[in-house]
């Protein structure tokens, strides 16, 4: 039984939307059912590896209903099967449950999504910035953040020859 049939039998009325493109099997999940669906995929579907978590900012997209899409890429290491689970969150205060209890690899990937997009993961043991300096205040991959920043890169003390 493929994971699509599994999800369809387990969650018949959950509002899951399936789509396929070549080898990609994708499923859109409402935010409220995310934990159930991912738990089912791990325990019954055999997806024992969370390859990546990433996000997309749909600000100023014409056909987008939601601001952020969060993408979970799963892999079944015994069959080689992959699936992509996508869910949507919105401003203000976009929040999702953390997947750290299911897959330990969610630790750093969720920190990266938090660092770049400001999406909070409830239940994460240590939600800090991972790439940018701790004193950085903005979320640089949001579409409303200017490419060249807001001057943070120039905000350092100057050491002159006479001081050094």
């Amino acid at each position: 039984m493929s994971h699509q049939e599994l999800l369809q039998t387990r969650f018949p009325a959950a509002g899951l939307v399936f789509s396929d493109f070549r080898d990609n099997h994708r499923v859109h999940v409402p935010k409220e059912r995310l934990v159930e669906v991912l738990t089912c995929l791990k325990t019954e579907g055999g997806f024992d590896m969370l390859v990546d978590i990433t996000a997309v900012d749909y600000l100023e997209y014409e056909n987008a209903d939601d601001r952020f899409g969060v993408v979970y890429v799963l892999l079944n290491t015994s069959t080689g099967e992959r699936t992509i689970v996508k869910t949507f969150v919105n401003d203000p205060d976009p929040t999702l449950p953390s997947m750290y209890p299911l897959w330990k690899s969610a630790d750093w990937t969720e920190r990266e999504v938090y660092d770049m997009y400001g999406i909070k993961f409830e239940g994460h043991p240590d939600l800090r910035r991972i790439l940018m300096p701790d004193e950085f205040t903005a979320f640089p991959l949001r579409k409303d953040y200017p490419l060249k920043g807001r001057g943070e890169r120039h905000n350092f003390p100057v050491i002159t020859r006479s001081e050094s």
């Binding site: 940018m132 300096p133 950085f136 640089p140 409303d144 953040y145 200017p146 490419l147 060249k148 920043g149 807001r150 001057g151 943070e152 890169r153 120039h154 350092f156 003390p157 100057v158 050491i159 002159t160 020859r161 006479s162 001081e163 050094s164």
Partner: protein
């Protein structure tokens, strides 16, 4: 004061000139290599280009033992405090080469996280352009720096402050970005 009857193999000079001559021909580089320029820096030090012909082959990874910092590669926001700390740890007299387009100006990485030229935050003596510069260019930069060492000599920070005002680009004006964006009519994209 005239000195008579000295043998032919004795030279008279000033202590400064002698010290500068030995300093210029025995530079100890601190390789601050963060990107592809670091690979060219390694090539410069290895056998084909052989930086030891110019007396600067003793790369030391402890800043306490160095007198020439070679900043090779882009410097990210998170790396700049490290760079400044290492620069302050080097004993005087010390010099700095900014190697490659990224260290000089930020290069193609005109993004929120990359410092737009290390000379905004630490003093730089010599700029080596290129992306990355070939080893010959770096060697040319080191030879030019040797000339500078011989000419400017042993001044330390306090003497420098007496002789000149601090040089380098003016501190960055935070409103400059907003003016640029207004000029390009890009301001509505901001919040």
């Amino acid at each position: 004061m005239a000195v008579k009857d000295i043998p032919d193999n004795i030279f008279m000079t000033t202590l400064d000139a002698a010290a500068n001559w030995s300093r210029a021909n025995s530079l100890w580089p601190m390789p601050f290599a963060t990107a592809c320029c670091g690979i060219e820096l390694m090539a410069t030090a290895s056998s084909r280009f052989d930086l030891s012909r110019f007396g600067a082959e003793v790369m030391r990874f402890s800043p306490r033992q160095c007198d020439l910092m070679i900043v090779a590669g882009r410097v990210a926001m998170k790396m700049l405090p490290v760079l400044q700390r290492i620069w302050l740890q080097m004993p005087e007299p010390k010099w700095c080469i900014s190697m490659g387009a990224c260290a000089c100006t930020g290069g193609v990485f005109d993004t929120y996280a990359v410092v737009q030229g290390v000379d905004r935050f630490i003093p730089v003596d010599m700029y080596v352009p290129g992306c990355p510069p070939r080893p010959e260019q770096l060697i040319a930069g080191i030879i030019a720096l040797q000339d500078k060492v011989i000419k400017t000599g042993t001044i330390n920070g306090r003497e420098f402050a007496k002789r000149t005002l601090p040089t380098g680009p003016a501190p960055f004006d935070a409103d400059e970005l907003i003016r640029i964006r207004e000029g390009n009519e890009l301001l509505p994209v901001l919040n």
